[in-house]
Amino acid sequence: MMRFILPFVVFLIMAAFMYVGLGLNPHEVPSPLVGKAAPAFTLPQLHEPSKQFSPQDMKGKVWLFNVWASWCTACESEHPVFVELSRQNIVPIYGMDYKDKREDGEAWLRKHGNPYALVVSDTEGRVGINYGVYGVPETYVIDKQGIIQYKQIGAVTPKILDEKILPLVKELQAK
């Protein structure tokens, strides 16, 4: 009897591992920044380059930090989610135009709508590296103390927004 049970158990264990492996996305690398302070930066604003923005300005507020670019096709698919969210006035969305030309970024926002309270432009991608950005779009939820509480790699879908981001935002706002 043991002769059959043991190989079967081994098979089941391997099958379970492989089944879980099938569902994993190798492009989703867990960020070590979650739970840590959002890296400081000072960048010019997209629309008014003479003005600057830095995350320290946001102390005391819960906010979303969305990294996007006009050359990023996945950004187009997630953009309506943010446009809709901005209408509800639940949480301010700050954008970072990543490795993009200023004109292209502005044109893209004119075309697709601008849900952002403010957009900064990271033309050289240096701040992106500091935030561990490796594929846009990426979205961070940052709490009142300036700690990154969540990072979404890839497009934010309505499901992710409703099930993960918004509950977290409400919880953090209540704190």
Partner: protein
């Protein structure tokens, strides 16, 4: 023939342009050090390429970052620590031993031990299962006579066989 031609046209490397490595540092020593370090780091975009060999935009930016940090006088370890703090252990081709990687590091040895254990167990079981053949008086006598044969004669018989 026409299909063959179409196939051949399809094979033309029209779209094989993948961007050029544009970074050229003024300082060849530093460039060498940077490449040496980047060879042990993984590109996050094309995950099977090293940071040194990848043509991805991000890899280029990260090489620039590494180069700049080297110019600032940071040690290799400090630069690696910085990248790990931003991108996680994933950037390392040589993941450190920690709780999450215990299975990765010691799993194969555990499997090896389990296999060896199974083998020993099976061999012992088989040994106990094979009954010791009983020697009849006749067999015992034959065995004794075989053993008594002189080494020379056994050599001879070997020669004959050969």
């Amino acid at each position: 023939m026409r299909y063959l031609l179409i196939l051949l046209v399809c094979l033309l490397p029209v779209f094989s342009y993948a961007g050029q490595a544009t970074d050229m540092a003024a300082d060849p020593v530093l460039e060498k050090r940077m490449i040496g370090l980047a060879e042990n780091l993984r590109c996050l975009v094309c995950q099977n390429e090293s940071l040194a060999s990848s043509h991805a935009d991000l890899a280029e930016d990260l090489r620039r970052e590494v180069r700049e940090q080297m110019q600032k006088g940071l040690s290799d370890q400090e630069i690696i620590d910085y990248l790990v703090s931003r991108y996680g252990d994933f950037v390392l081709y040589d993941p450190p031993v920690k709780k999450a990687t215990l299975v990765l590091w010691y799993g194969p040895f555990a499997l090896l031990l389990a296999g060896a254990g199974m083998l020993i167990y099976q061999l012992r079981k088989r040994k106990s299962q094979v009954p010791e053949a009983e020697l009849s008086a006749e067999d015992a006598q034959r065995a004794a006579s075989l053993l008594e044969e002189t080494p020379e004669s056994s050599n001879q018989s070997k020669d004959k066989q050969a």
